[in-house]
Protein backbone atom coordinates (compact mmCIF):
# COMPACT_ATOMS: atom_id res chain seq x y z
CA UNK A 1 0.00 0.00 0.00
CA UNK A 2 2.75 2.44 0.94
CA UNK A 3 4.34 2.12 -2.50
CA UNK A 4 1.51 3.61 -4.53
CA UNK A 5 1.22 6.70 -2.36
CA UNK A 6 2.02 10.10 -3.78
CA UNK A 7 4.23 11.57 -1.12
CA UNK A 8 3.80 15.05 0.21
CA UNK A 9 0.07 15.25 -0.53
CA UNK A 10 -0.28 17.46 2.50
CA UNK A 11 2.70 19.38 3.76
CA UNK A 12 3.21 21.65 6.77
CA UNK A 13 6.29 23.81 6.28
CA UNK A 14 7.71 25.71 9.28
CA UNK A 15 4.23 26.43 10.57
CA UNK A 16 4.17 28.63 13.65
CA UNK A 17 1.26 29.90 15.67
CA UNK A 18 1.00 32.50 18.39
CA UNK A 19 -2.28 33.68 19.88
CA UNK A 20 -0.81 36.63 21.77
CA UNK A 21 2.13 37.66 19.50
CA UNK A 22 4.42 36.68 22.39
CA UNK A 23 4.54 32.97 23.01
CA UNK A 24 4.49 30.38 20.26
CA UNK A 25 1.87 27.69 20.85
CA UNK A 26 3.07 25.84 17.75
CA UNK A 27 6.80 26.15 17.07
CA UNK A 28 8.15 25.21 13.70
CA UNK A 29 5.75 22.45 12.79
CA UNK A 30 6.86 20.30 9.86
CA UNK A 31 4.98 17.28 8.59
CA UNK A 32 4.23 15.47 5.36
CA UNK A 33 1.28 13.22 4.68
CA UNK A 34 0.78 10.79 1.82
CA UNK A 35 -2.59 10.54 0.12
CA UNK A 36 -4.81 8.04 1.92
CA UNK A 37 -2.63 8.03 5.00
CA UNK A 38 -4.01 7.87 8.53
CA UNK A 39 -1.80 10.13 10.59
CA UNK A 40 -2.34 10.70 14.29
CA UNK A 41 -1.22 13.75 16.22
CA UNK A 42 -0.59 12.43 19.70
CA UNK A 43 0.29 14.69 22.58
CA UNK A 44 -0.64 15.71 26.08
CA UNK A 45 -3.47 18.16 26.62
CA UNK A 46 -2.44 21.74 25.88
CA UNK A 47 0.36 20.74 23.50
CA UNK A 48 -1.22 22.57 20.55
CA UNK A 49 -2.91 19.70 18.67
CA UNK A 50 -6.25 21.46 18.30
CA UNK A 51 -4.46 24.61 17.20
CA UNK A 52 -2.81 22.69 14.34
CA UNK A 53 -6.18 21.31 13.21
CA UNK A 54 -7.81 24.71 13.47
CA UNK A 55 -5.12 26.19 11.23
CA UNK A 56 -5.57 23.31 8.81
CA UNK A 57 -9.34 23.86 8.72
CA UNK A 58 -8.91 27.61 8.44
CA UNK A 59 -10.59 28.61 11.71
CA UNK A 60 -7.33 30.03 13.03
CA UNK A 61 -4.79 32.00 11.04
CA UNK A 62 -1.24 30.75 10.54
CA UNK A 63 1.26 33.12 12.15
CA UNK A 64 4.02 32.08 9.75
CA UNK A 65 4.86 29.18 7.47
CA UNK A 66 2.90 27.33 4.78
CA UNK A 67 0.36 24.56 4.54
CA UNK A 68 0.34 22.96 1.09
CA UNK A 69 -2.42 20.64 -0.09
CA UNK A 70 -1.52 18.83 -3.30
CA UNK A 71 1.20 21.41 -3.84
CA UNK A 72 -1.05 24.44 -3.45
CA UNK A 73 -0.85 26.73 -0.45
CA UNK A 74 -4.21 26.78 1.28
CA UNK A 75 -3.54 29.39 3.94
CA UNK A 76 -5.27 32.02 1.82
CA UNK A 77 -8.32 29.88 1.03
CA UNK A 78 -11.47 30.58 3.06
CA UNK A 79 -12.42 27.70 5.40
CA UNK A 80 -15.62 26.87 3.54
CA UNK A 81 -13.77 26.53 0.24
CA UNK A 82 -11.15 24.09 1.53
CA UNK A 83 -13.21 20.93 1.09
CA UNK A 84 -11.99 19.46 4.37
CA UNK A 85 -14.23 17.22 6.46
CA UNK A 86 -14.18 17.68 10.20
CA UNK A 87 -15.29 15.53 13.12
CA UNK A 88 -15.60 17.34 16.43
CA UNK A 89 -15.19 15.94 19.91
CA UNK A 90 -18.70 16.99 20.91
CA UNK A 91 -20.12 15.72 17.58
CA UNK A 92 -21.41 19.20 16.56
CA UNK A 93 -24.54 17.71 14.99
CA UNK A 94 -27.17 20.33 14.22
CA UNK A 95 -29.78 19.73 16.93
CA UNK A 96 -32.60 21.32 14.93
CA UNK A 97 -32.15 19.01 11.95
CA UNK A 98 -32.90 15.30 11.63
CA UNK A 99 -30.08 12.83 11.08
CA UNK A 100 -30.87 12.68 7.36
CA UNK A 101 -30.94 16.49 7.14
CA UNK A 102 -27.60 16.65 8.92
CA UNK A 103 -26.08 14.28 6.38
CA UNK A 104 -27.75 16.07 3.49
CA UNK A 105 -26.50 19.49 4.52
CA UNK A 106 -23.05 19.45 2.87
CA UNK A 107 -24.64 18.05 -0.30
CA UNK A 108 -27.37 20.68 -0.29
CA UNK A 109 -24.76 23.38 0.05
CA UNK A 110 -23.04 21.89 -3.00
CA UNK A 111 -26.31 22.07 -4.93
CA UNK A 112 -26.60 18.37 -5.64
CA UNK A 113 -29.90 17.16 -7.10
CA UNK A 114 -32.62 15.95 -4.72
CA UNK A 115 -32.40 12.40 -6.04
CA UNK A 116 -28.63 12.26 -5.64
CA UNK A 117 -28.83 13.64 -2.11
CA UNK A 118 -31.46 11.10 -1.08
CA UNK A 119 -29.49 8.23 -2.57
CA UNK A 120 -26.20 9.27 -1.00
CA UNK A 121 -27.71 9.97 2.42
CA UNK A 122 -29.26 6.50 2.47
CA UNK A 123 -25.99 4.91 1.35
CA UNK A 124 -24.06 6.60 4.16
CA UNK A 125 -26.76 5.81 6.72
CA UNK A 126 -26.41 2.16 5.75
CA UNK A 127 -22.65 2.45 5.86
CA UNK A 128 -22.75 3.49 9.52
CA UNK A 129 -25.48 0.93 10.20
CA UNK A 130 -28.09 3.53 11.07
CA UNK A 131 -30.23 2.89 7.99
CA UNK A 132 -33.57 3.38 9.79
CA UNK A 133 -32.55 6.36 11.89
CA UNK A 134 -32.76 9.09 9.23
CA UNK A 135 -35.86 10.72 10.72
CA UNK A 136 -34.63 10.91 14.28
CA UNK A 137 -33.05 13.99 15.77
CA UNK A 138 -29.54 13.91 17.23
CA UNK A 139 -31.07 14.13 20.72
CA UNK A 140 -32.69 10.73 20.22
CA UNK A 141 -29.39 8.93 19.55
CA UNK A 142 -26.80 7.52 21.93
CA UNK A 143 -23.29 8.97 22.09
CA UNK A 144 -21.78 6.30 19.87
CA UNK A 145 -24.55 6.65 17.29
CA UNK A 146 -24.12 10.42 17.22
CA UNK A 147 -20.42 10.06 16.65
CA UNK A 148 -21.07 7.71 13.73
CA UNK A 149 -23.41 10.30 12.22
CA UNK A 150 -20.78 13.01 12.71
CA UNK A 151 -18.29 10.76 10.95
CA UNK A 152 -20.63 10.09 8.03
CA UNK A 153 -21.43 13.78 7.74
CA UNK A 154 -17.73 14.63 7.47
CA UNK A 155 -17.22 11.99 4.76
CA UNK A 156 -20.38 12.22 2.69
CA UNK A 157 -19.20 15.02 0.42
CA UNK A 158 -15.97 13.24 -0.49
CA UNK A 159 -13.53 15.66 1.15
CA UNK A 160 -9.86 15.59 0.20
CA UNK A 161 -8.91 15.44 3.85
CA UNK A 162 -10.69 14.59 7.09
CA UNK A 163 -9.71 16.12 10.42
CA UNK A 164 -10.79 14.50 13.66
CA UNK A 165 -10.22 16.24 16.99
CA UNK A 166 -10.44 13.70 19.82
CA UNK A 167 -13.63 12.31 18.27
CA UNK A 168 -13.95 9.50 20.80
CA UNK A 169 -13.03 11.50 23.89
CA UNK A 170 -16.59 11.64 25.19
CA UNK A 171 -17.31 7.92 24.87
CA UNK A 172 -16.77 5.21 27.43
CA UNK A 173 -14.00 2.69 27.00
CA UNK A 174 -15.93 -0.11 25.37
CA UNK A 175 -17.68 2.14 22.89
CA UNK A 176 -14.39 3.83 22.12
CA UNK A 177 -12.85 0.54 21.09
CA UNK A 178 -15.83 -0.25 18.87
CA UNK A 179 -15.60 3.16 17.24
CA UNK A 180 -11.85 2.77 16.66
CA UNK A 181 -12.61 -0.34 14.63
CA UNK A 182 -15.44 1.47 12.86
CA UNK A 183 -13.23 4.38 11.84
CA UNK A 184 -10.47 2.04 10.67
CA UNK A 185 -13.03 0.09 8.64
CA UNK A 186 -14.37 3.24 6.95
CA UNK A 187 -10.86 4.46 6.30
CA UNK A 188 -9.90 1.20 4.60
CA UNK A 189 -13.11 1.13 2.60
CA UNK A 190 -13.19 4.76 1.45
CA UNK A 191 -9.48 5.58 1.41
CA UNK A 192 -9.65 9.18 2.62
CA UNK A 193 -6.69 11.00 4.16
CA UNK A 194 -6.94 11.61 7.90
CA UNK A 195 -5.31 13.74 10.52
CA UNK A 196 -6.53 12.31 13.79
CA UNK A 197 -5.93 14.06 17.08
CA UNK A 198 -5.89 12.25 20.40
CA UNK A 199 -4.16 12.18 23.74
CA UNK A 200 -4.89 8.46 24.08
CA UNK A 201 -1.85 6.49 23.00
CA UNK A 202 -3.71 3.19 22.81
CA UNK A 203 -6.04 4.71 20.27
CA UNK A 204 -3.11 6.15 18.32
CA UNK A 205 -1.17 2.89 18.28
CA UNK A 206 -4.06 0.75 17.06
CA UNK A 207 -5.45 3.02 14.33
CA UNK A 208 -2.62 4.95 12.70
CA UNK A 209 -0.32 4.42 9.75
CA UNK A 210 1.98 6.92 11.38
CA UNK A 211 1.93 8.87 14.63
CA UNK A 212 3.40 12.30 15.19
CA UNK A 213 4.14 12.69 18.89
CA UNK A 214 3.62 16.32 19.71
CA UNK A 215 4.74 18.21 22.77
CA UNK A 216 5.07 21.89 23.58
CA UNK A 217 4.41 22.89 19.99
CA UNK A 218 7.06 20.63 18.44
CA UNK A 219 6.87 17.23 16.74
CA UNK A 220 9.08 15.04 18.91
CA UNK A 221 8.98 12.03 16.60
CA UNK A 222 6.89 10.99 13.64
CA UNK A 223 6.95 7.29 12.83
CA UNK A 224 4.93 4.10 12.47
CA UNK A 225 3.44 2.83 15.76
CA UNK A 226 5.89 -0.07 16.19
CA UNK A 227 8.92 2.15 15.50
CA UNK A 228 7.64 4.69 17.99
CA UNK A 229 7.23 2.01 20.63
CA UNK A 230 10.42 0.12 19.96
CA UNK A 231 12.77 2.93 18.96
CA UNK A 232 11.75 6.15 20.70
CA UNK A 233 13.77 9.14 19.52
CA UNK A 234 13.97 10.92 22.85
CA UNK A 235 13.09 10.61 26.50
CA UNK A 236 9.70 12.35 26.06
CA UNK A 237 8.53 9.81 23.49
CA UNK A 238 9.90 6.92 25.54
CA UNK A 239 7.99 8.15 28.55
CA UNK A 240 4.79 9.16 26.75
CA UNK A 241 4.31 5.98 24.73
CA UNK A 242 3.77 2.93 26.89
CA UNK A 243 5.45 2.31 30.19
CA UNK A 244 9.17 2.73 30.75
CA UNK A 245 11.88 2.53 33.39
CA UNK A 246 14.38 5.37 33.49
CA UNK A 247 17.82 4.86 35.01
CA UNK A 248 20.09 7.91 35.31
CA UNK A 249 23.77 7.46 34.50
CA UNK A 250 26.88 8.78 32.75
CA UNK A 251 28.22 7.78 29.33
CA UNK A 252 31.58 6.01 29.69
CA UNK A 253 32.20 4.73 26.18
CA UNK A 254 30.75 5.38 22.77
CA UNK A 255 31.09 3.29 19.59
CA UNK A 256 28.88 4.39 16.74
CA UNK A 257 25.26 3.75 17.72
CA UNK A 258 26.19 1.99 20.93
CA UNK A 259 27.15 3.39 24.28
CA UNK A 260 28.22 2.08 27.64
CA UNK A 261 26.69 3.81 30.59
CA UNK A 262 27.57 3.64 34.26
CA UNK A 263 24.26 3.92 36.05
CA UNK A 264 24.01 5.70 39.37
CA UNK A 265 22.25 2.70 40.91
CA UNK A 266 25.41 0.61 40.42
CA UNK A 267 26.59 -1.35 37.39
CA UNK A 268 27.16 -0.75 33.69
CA UNK A 269 24.63 -1.00 30.88
CA UNK A 270 25.10 -1.19 27.17
CA UNK A 271 22.48 0.65 25.20
CA UNK A 272 21.54 2.03 21.84
CA UNK A 273 22.21 5.76 21.72
CA UNK A 274 19.06 7.68 20.76
CA UNK A 275 19.94 11.30 21.42
CA UNK A 276 22.60 10.91 24.07
CA UNK A 277 25.74 13.00 24.33
CA UNK A 278 29.46 12.14 24.26
CA UNK A 279 31.56 10.35 26.84
CA UNK A 280 31.19 12.01 30.23
CA UNK A 281 27.72 13.45 29.63
CA UNK A 282 24.68 12.74 31.78
CA UNK A 283 22.12 10.43 30.27
CA UNK A 284 19.00 8.40 30.98
CA UNK A 285 18.67 4.73 30.14
CA UNK A 286 15.17 3.59 29.28
CA UNK A 287 14.09 -0.04 29.29
CA UNK A 288 10.51 -1.29 29.19
CA UNK A 289 9.20 -3.43 32.06
CA UNK A 290 8.50 -6.37 29.74
CA UNK A 291 12.06 -6.26 28.36
CA UNK A 292 13.62 -6.83 31.77
CA UNK A 293 14.10 -10.30 33.17
CA UNK A 294 14.75 -11.56 36.63
CA UNK A 295 17.84 -13.73 36.84
CA UNK A 296 17.40 -17.04 35.10
CA UNK A 297 20.10 -19.53 34.45
CA UNK A 298 21.21 -20.38 30.96
CA UNK A 299 20.13 -17.19 29.23
CA UNK A 300 22.48 -14.87 27.51
CA UNK A 301 21.88 -11.21 28.26
CA UNK A 302 24.07 -8.20 27.57
CA UNK A 303 23.21 -6.26 30.70
CA UNK A 304 22.86 -7.26 34.29
CA UNK A 305 22.49 -5.18 37.43
CA UNK A 306 21.54 -5.84 41.02
CA UNK A 307 18.25 -4.67 42.54
CA UNK A 308 16.22 -5.17 45.70
CA UNK A 309 12.61 -6.45 45.48
CA UNK A 310 10.21 -4.05 47.19
CA UNK A 311 6.69 -5.04 46.17
CA UNK A 312 5.00 -7.64 44.08
CA UNK A 313 1.71 -6.83 42.39
CA UNK A 314 -0.45 -9.66 41.14
CA UNK A 315 -2.42 -8.41 38.11
CA UNK A 316 -3.73 -11.69 36.75
CA UNK A 317 -2.29 -12.37 33.33
CA UNK A 318 1.02 -10.96 34.50
CA UNK A 319 2.84 -10.00 37.66
CA UNK A 320 4.57 -6.70 38.30
CA UNK A 321 7.67 -6.63 40.45
CA UNK A 322 8.85 -3.35 41.90
CA UNK A 323 12.62 -3.26 42.46
CA UNK A 324 14.85 -0.58 43.88
CA UNK A 325 18.43 0.18 42.91
CA UNK A 326 21.08 1.30 45.39
CA UNK A 327 20.44 4.98 44.62
CA UNK A 328 16.68 4.63 45.18
CA UNK A 329 15.66 4.47 41.50
CA UNK A 330 12.54 2.37 41.11
CA UNK A 331 12.51 -0.30 38.41
CA UNK A 332 9.39 -2.16 37.32
CA UNK A 333 9.57 -5.63 35.82
CA UNK A 334 6.58 -7.21 34.15
CA UNK A 335 6.53 -11.01 34.00
CA UNK A 336 3.95 -13.17 32.28
CA UNK A 337 2.07 -15.22 34.80
CA UNK A 338 3.10 -18.73 33.75
CA UNK A 339 4.98 -21.43 35.59
CA UNK A 340 8.21 -19.54 34.89
CA UNK A 341 7.20 -16.62 37.11
CA UNK A 342 9.87 -16.65 39.79
CA UNK A 343 9.03 -17.00 43.45
CA UNK A 344 10.98 -14.23 45.12
CA UNK A 345 11.00 -13.18 48.72
CA UNK A 346 10.89 -9.54 49.76
CA UNK A 347 14.07 -7.51 50.22
CA UNK A 348 16.07 -10.14 48.44
CA UNK A 349 18.82 -9.01 46.12
CA UNK A 350 18.20 -10.17 42.55
CA UNK A 351 19.95 -9.68 39.28
CA UNK A 352 17.97 -7.97 36.51
CA UNK A 353 18.84 -8.80 32.93
CA UNK A 354 18.21 -7.16 29.58
CA UNK A 355 19.34 -7.21 25.98
CA UNK A 356 21.27 -4.18 24.87
CA UNK A 357 18.99 -3.57 21.89
CA UNK A 358 16.10 -3.05 24.31
CA UNK A 359 17.95 -0.33 26.19
CA UNK A 360 18.08 3.25 24.94
CA UNK A 361 20.26 6.12 26.08
CA UNK A 362 18.82 9.64 26.01
CA UNK A 363 20.31 12.99 26.83
CA UNK A 364 19.43 14.04 30.39
CA UNK A 365 18.43 17.71 30.51
Amino acid sequence: MAADRVDGYLRFRNVKKSYDQKTLVVKDFNLELAKGEFLTLLGPSGSGKTTVLMMMAGFESVTSGDILLDGNPITRTAPYKRNIGMVFQNYALFPHMSIAENLAYPLKVRKKSKAEIAERVQRYLDLIELGDFGNRTPGQLSGGQRQRVALARALIFGPSLVLMDEPLGALDKKLREQMQLEISRLHQKLGFTVIYVTHDQGEALTMSDRIAVFDRGVVQQCAAPDVLYEQPANAFVADFIGENNFLPGVVTRREGDWVRVRISGGGEIEARCADCGDVGSDCLISVRPEKLFIEEAGHDYDNRFGALLKTRLYVGDFIRYFFELDDGTEVVVKVLNDHAAPELSMSEKSLLLSRRRDCFAFARK
Binding site: G58, A92, F94, H96, V109, R110, A154, F157
Partner: protein, 283 residues
Protein backbone atom coordinates in the same frame (compact mmCIF):
# COMPACT_ATOMS: atom_id res chain seq x y z
CA UNK B 1 -52.48 23.72 58.51
CA UNK B 2 -48.77 23.91 57.98
CA UNK B 3 -46.70 21.19 59.60
CA UNK B 4 -43.62 22.65 61.21
CA UNK B 5 -40.47 20.75 62.09
CA UNK B 6 -40.50 19.72 65.74
CA UNK B 7 -37.68 22.07 66.68
CA UNK B 8 -39.73 25.18 65.66
CA UNK B 9 -40.54 27.33 68.69
CA UNK B 10 -43.10 30.09 69.12
CA UNK B 11 -40.92 32.81 67.55
CA UNK B 12 -40.13 30.59 64.60
CA UNK B 13 -43.82 30.12 63.91
CA UNK B 14 -44.60 33.80 64.41
CA UNK B 15 -41.78 34.76 62.04
CA UNK B 16 -43.05 32.30 59.49
CA UNK B 17 -46.56 33.75 59.46
CA UNK B 18 -45.31 37.34 59.57
CA UNK B 19 -43.21 36.69 56.47
CA UNK B 20 -46.06 34.96 54.71
CA UNK B 21 -48.62 37.73 55.29
CA UNK B 22 -46.15 40.48 54.45
CA UNK B 23 -45.56 38.71 51.15
CA UNK B 24 -49.32 38.51 50.50
CA UNK B 25 -49.58 42.21 51.33
CA UNK B 26 -46.85 43.21 48.88
CA UNK B 27 -48.34 41.02 46.19
CA UNK B 28 -51.78 42.57 46.69
CA UNK B 29 -50.31 46.05 46.63
CA UNK B 30 -48.71 45.29 43.29
CA UNK B 31 -51.59 43.54 41.61
CA UNK B 32 -54.78 45.08 43.01
CA UNK B 33 -54.49 48.49 41.30
CA UNK B 34 -54.21 46.64 38.02
CA UNK B 35 -56.97 44.13 38.66
CA UNK B 36 -59.42 46.74 39.89
CA UNK B 37 -59.31 48.39 36.48
CA UNK B 38 -60.82 45.38 34.77
CA UNK B 39 -64.36 45.40 36.32
CA UNK B 40 -64.43 49.20 36.36
CA UNK B 41 -63.94 49.29 32.60
CA UNK B 42 -67.35 47.61 32.25
CA UNK B 43 -69.05 50.32 34.30
CA UNK B 44 -72.29 51.64 32.82
CA UNK B 45 -71.79 55.01 34.54
CA UNK B 46 -69.00 57.44 33.62
CA UNK B 47 -67.40 56.99 37.06
CA UNK B 48 -64.06 55.62 38.22
CA UNK B 49 -65.61 53.88 41.22
CA UNK B 50 -67.82 50.90 41.89
CA UNK B 51 -71.54 51.69 41.80
CA UNK B 52 -74.05 50.00 44.10
CA UNK B 53 -75.30 47.98 41.13
CA UNK B 54 -71.83 46.72 40.32
CA UNK B 55 -71.29 45.56 43.88
CA UNK B 56 -74.67 43.72 43.80
CA UNK B 57 -73.49 42.04 40.59
CA UNK B 58 -76.48 43.49 38.75
CA UNK B 59 -76.03 42.78 35.03
CA UNK B 60 -77.63 46.14 34.27
CA UNK B 61 -74.72 47.91 35.97
CA UNK B 62 -72.24 46.47 33.46
CA UNK B 63 -71.84 47.35 29.79
CA UNK B 64 -69.42 47.48 26.89
CA UNK B 65 -70.10 51.19 26.55
CA UNK B 66 -66.49 52.32 26.98
CA UNK B 67 -65.19 49.71 24.58
CA UNK B 68 -67.61 51.08 22.01
CA UNK B 69 -66.31 54.55 22.87
CA UNK B 70 -62.83 53.49 21.81
CA UNK B 71 -64.03 52.24 18.47
CA UNK B 72 -66.11 55.36 17.89
CA UNK B 73 -63.37 57.82 18.74
CA UNK B 74 -61.03 58.45 15.81
CA UNK B 75 -58.32 59.74 18.16
CA UNK B 76 -58.21 56.38 19.93
CA UNK B 77 -58.26 54.47 16.67
CA UNK B 78 -55.38 56.57 15.37
CA UNK B 79 -53.48 56.08 18.63
CA UNK B 80 -53.93 52.29 18.45
CA UNK B 81 -52.85 52.23 14.82
CA UNK B 82 -49.84 54.42 15.64
CA UNK B 83 -48.80 52.28 18.58
CA UNK B 84 -48.82 49.14 16.50
CA UNK B 85 -47.21 50.78 13.48
CA UNK B 86 -44.38 52.37 15.45
CA UNK B 87 -44.07 49.35 17.75
CA UNK B 88 -43.80 46.83 14.94
CA UNK B 89 -41.25 48.73 12.89
CA UNK B 90 -39.22 49.73 15.94
CA UNK B 91 -39.24 46.05 16.96
CA UNK B 92 -38.05 44.88 13.56
CA UNK B 93 -35.26 47.44 13.54
CA UNK B 94 -34.23 46.74 17.14
CA UNK B 95 -34.32 42.97 16.62
CA UNK B 96 -32.20 42.97 13.48
CA UNK B 97 -29.63 45.41 14.85
CA UNK B 98 -29.62 43.93 18.35
CA UNK B 99 -29.19 40.36 17.09
CA UNK B 100 -26.32 41.34 14.82
CA UNK B 101 -24.70 43.26 17.65
CA UNK B 102 -25.05 40.33 20.05
CA UNK B 103 -23.56 37.92 17.50
CA UNK B 104 -20.66 40.27 16.85
CA UNK B 105 -20.06 40.78 20.56
CA UNK B 106 -20.02 37.01 21.10
CA UNK B 107 -17.07 36.57 18.75
CA UNK B 108 -13.84 35.90 20.64
CA UNK B 109 -12.04 38.21 18.22
CA UNK B 110 -14.15 41.30 18.96
CA UNK B 111 -12.05 44.10 20.50
CA UNK B 112 -13.38 46.56 23.13
CA UNK B 113 -16.23 44.19 23.93
CA UNK B 114 -17.10 45.61 27.33
CA UNK B 115 -17.02 49.22 26.20
CA UNK B 116 -19.24 48.57 23.19
CA UNK B 117 -21.63 46.48 25.25
CA UNK B 118 -21.88 49.25 27.85
CA UNK B 119 -22.61 51.84 25.17
CA UNK B 120 -25.28 49.70 23.54
CA UNK B 121 -26.97 48.96 26.85
CA UNK B 122 -26.87 52.58 28.03
CA UNK B 123 -30.45 53.39 26.92
CA UNK B 124 -31.58 51.03 29.68
CA UNK B 125 -29.66 52.91 32.34
CA UNK B 126 -29.61 56.57 31.32
CA UNK B 127 -32.75 58.36 32.59
CA UNK B 128 -35.34 58.43 29.85
CA UNK B 129 -35.92 62.14 30.20
CA UNK B 130 -32.27 62.83 29.35
CA UNK B 131 -32.40 60.58 26.32
CA UNK B 132 -35.60 62.30 25.27
CA UNK B 133 -34.13 65.78 25.61
CA UNK B 134 -31.00 64.77 23.71
CA UNK B 135 -33.00 63.14 20.95
CA UNK B 136 -35.30 66.13 20.70
CA UNK B 137 -32.47 68.50 19.85
CA UNK B 138 -30.62 65.99 17.71
CA UNK B 139 -33.65 64.87 15.72
CA UNK B 140 -34.84 68.43 15.15
CA UNK B 141 -31.56 69.08 13.32
CA UNK B 142 -32.30 66.21 10.94
CA UNK B 143 -36.02 67.03 10.61
CA UNK B 144 -36.86 63.74 12.30
CA UNK B 145 -38.84 65.24 15.17
CA UNK B 146 -42.55 64.88 14.61
CA UNK B 147 -42.14 62.06 12.06
CA UNK B 148 -42.88 58.34 12.22
CA UNK B 149 -39.31 57.54 11.20
CA UNK B 150 -37.98 59.58 14.12
CA UNK B 151 -40.16 57.74 16.64
CA UNK B 152 -39.35 54.36 15.14
CA UNK B 153 -35.61 55.01 15.40
CA UNK B 154 -35.98 56.38 18.94
CA UNK B 155 -38.00 53.39 20.12
CA UNK B 156 -35.64 50.98 18.36
CA UNK B 157 -32.77 52.49 20.35
CA UNK B 158 -34.68 51.71 23.56
CA UNK B 159 -35.45 48.16 22.41
CA UNK B 160 -31.94 47.20 21.26
CA UNK B 161 -30.56 46.56 24.79
CA UNK B 162 -33.29 43.99 25.48
CA UNK B 163 -32.56 42.15 22.26
CA UNK B 164 -28.83 42.20 22.96
CA UNK B 165 -29.34 40.79 26.44
CA UNK B 166 -31.67 37.96 25.45
CA UNK B 167 -29.71 37.00 22.34
CA UNK B 168 -26.40 37.13 24.23
CA UNK B 169 -27.91 34.81 26.81
CA UNK B 170 -28.93 32.25 24.16
CA UNK B 171 -25.58 32.61 22.43
CA UNK B 172 -23.73 31.84 25.65
CA UNK B 173 -25.09 28.31 25.36
CA UNK B 174 -24.30 28.20 21.66
CA UNK B 175 -21.57 25.77 20.72
CA UNK B 176 -19.13 27.47 18.36
CA UNK B 177 -18.16 24.16 16.86
CA UNK B 178 -21.63 24.07 15.25
CA UNK B 179 -20.63 27.18 13.34
CA UNK B 180 -17.30 25.63 12.43
CA UNK B 181 -19.11 22.46 11.37
CA UNK B 182 -21.24 24.48 8.95
CA UNK B 183 -18.17 26.10 7.42
CA UNK B 184 -16.29 22.81 7.18
CA UNK B 185 -19.18 21.38 5.17
CA UNK B 186 -18.81 24.14 2.62
CA UNK B 187 -21.49 26.62 3.71
CA UNK B 188 -20.44 30.26 3.55
CA UNK B 189 -20.44 32.21 6.83
CA UNK B 190 -23.71 33.91 5.84
CA UNK B 191 -25.35 30.64 4.90
CA UNK B 192 -24.15 29.00 8.14
CA UNK B 193 -25.56 31.93 10.06
CA UNK B 194 -28.93 31.51 8.35
CA UNK B 195 -29.14 27.71 8.50
CA UNK B 196 -27.48 26.98 11.83
CA UNK B 197 -27.08 30.00 14.08
CA UNK B 198 -30.45 31.69 13.53
CA UNK B 199 -32.64 28.62 14.14
CA UNK B 200 -30.80 27.89 17.38
CA UNK B 201 -30.87 31.40 18.80
CA UNK B 202 -34.44 32.02 17.59
CA UNK B 203 -36.01 31.77 21.09
CA UNK B 204 -33.67 34.52 22.31
CA UNK B 205 -34.37 36.65 19.28
CA UNK B 206 -38.12 36.30 19.69
CA UNK B 207 -38.18 37.06 23.38
CA UNK B 208 -35.90 40.04 22.76
CA UNK B 209 -38.30 41.21 20.07
CA UNK B 210 -41.21 40.93 22.50
CA UNK B 211 -39.44 43.00 25.11
CA UNK B 212 -38.60 45.57 22.44
CA UNK B 213 -42.22 45.70 21.33
CA UNK B 214 -43.56 46.11 24.86
CA UNK B 215 -40.98 48.82 25.52
CA UNK B 216 -42.15 50.78 22.52
CA UNK B 217 -45.80 50.02 23.22
CA UNK B 218 -45.91 51.65 26.66
CA UNK B 219 -43.29 54.32 26.14
CA UNK B 220 -44.59 57.84 26.76
CA UNK B 221 -41.66 60.15 27.55
CA UNK B 222 -40.02 60.01 24.11
CA UNK B 223 -43.43 60.32 22.48
CA UNK B 224 -44.16 63.47 24.49
CA UNK B 225 -40.94 65.01 23.23
CA UNK B 226 -40.75 63.73 19.68
CA UNK B 227 -44.27 63.03 18.42
CA UNK B 228 -46.41 65.50 16.55
CA UNK B 229 -50.21 65.39 16.84
CA UNK B 230 -50.26 62.82 14.02
CA UNK B 231 -48.09 60.33 15.90
CA UNK B 232 -49.99 60.05 19.17
CA UNK B 233 -49.67 56.54 20.58
CA UNK B 234 -51.93 54.75 23.07
CA UNK B 235 -50.00 55.81 26.20
CA UNK B 236 -49.87 59.37 24.97
CA UNK B 237 -53.60 59.34 24.29
CA UNK B 238 -54.27 57.90 27.75
CA UNK B 239 -52.10 60.59 29.24
CA UNK B 240 -54.12 63.37 27.66
CA UNK B 241 -57.36 61.41 28.22
CA UNK B 242 -56.67 61.51 31.94
CA UNK B 243 -56.55 65.27 31.92
CA UNK B 244 -59.07 66.22 29.25
CA UNK B 245 -62.03 63.86 29.07
CA UNK B 246 -62.25 61.97 32.31
CA UNK B 247 -64.27 58.82 31.61
CA UNK B 248 -63.67 55.08 31.82
CA UNK B 249 -62.57 54.81 28.16
CA UNK B 250 -59.00 54.73 29.34
CA UNK B 251 -59.94 51.89 31.70
CA UNK B 252 -61.23 49.92 28.74
CA UNK B 253 -58.00 50.62 26.87
CA UNK B 254 -56.01 49.63 29.94
CA UNK B 255 -57.90 46.34 30.19
CA UNK B 256 -57.11 45.60 26.58
CA UNK B 257 -53.44 46.37 27.24
CA UNK B 258 -53.43 44.00 30.21
CA UNK B 259 -54.83 41.31 27.96
CA UNK B 260 -52.11 41.95 25.39
CA UNK B 261 -49.44 41.83 28.13
CA UNK B 262 -50.74 38.50 29.44
CA UNK B 263 -50.64 37.06 25.94
CA UNK B 264 -47.05 38.22 25.66
CA UNK B 265 -46.05 36.74 29.01
CA UNK B 266 -47.60 33.40 28.14
CA UNK B 267 -45.85 33.24 24.78
CA UNK B 268 -42.56 34.17 26.46
CA UNK B 269 -42.94 31.32 28.90
CA UNK B 270 -43.77 28.88 26.11
CA UNK B 271 -40.67 30.05 24.25
CA UNK B 272 -38.50 29.59 27.30
CA UNK B 273 -39.67 26.01 27.65
CA UNK B 274 -39.07 25.36 23.98
CA UNK B 275 -35.53 26.68 24.16
CA UNK B 276 -34.84 24.56 27.23
CA UNK B 277 -36.05 21.55 25.33
CA UNK B 278 -33.76 22.37 22.43
CA UNK B 279 -30.83 22.74 24.77
CA UNK B 280 -31.68 19.54 26.56
CA UNK B 281 -31.23 17.82 23.23
CA UNK B 282 -27.86 19.43 22.87
CA UNK B 283 -26.42 17.89 25.99
Amino acid sequence: MQRFPDYYGFWHRLGHYALRYTAYGVLGFLVLPILVIVPLSFNVEPFFSFTRGMLMLDPEAYSLRWYRAIVDNKNWILAIKNSFFIGIFATILATVLGTLAAVGLASPRMPFKRLIMALLLSPMIVPLIIIAAGMFFFYTKFNLAGTYLGLIIAHAALGVPFVIITVTATLSGFDRSLYHAGLSMGASPLRTFRDVVVPLIRPGVISGAMFAFVTSFDEVVLVLFLAGPGQRTIPRQMFSGLREQINPTILAVATLLILVSILFLVSLELLRRRSQRLRGIEE
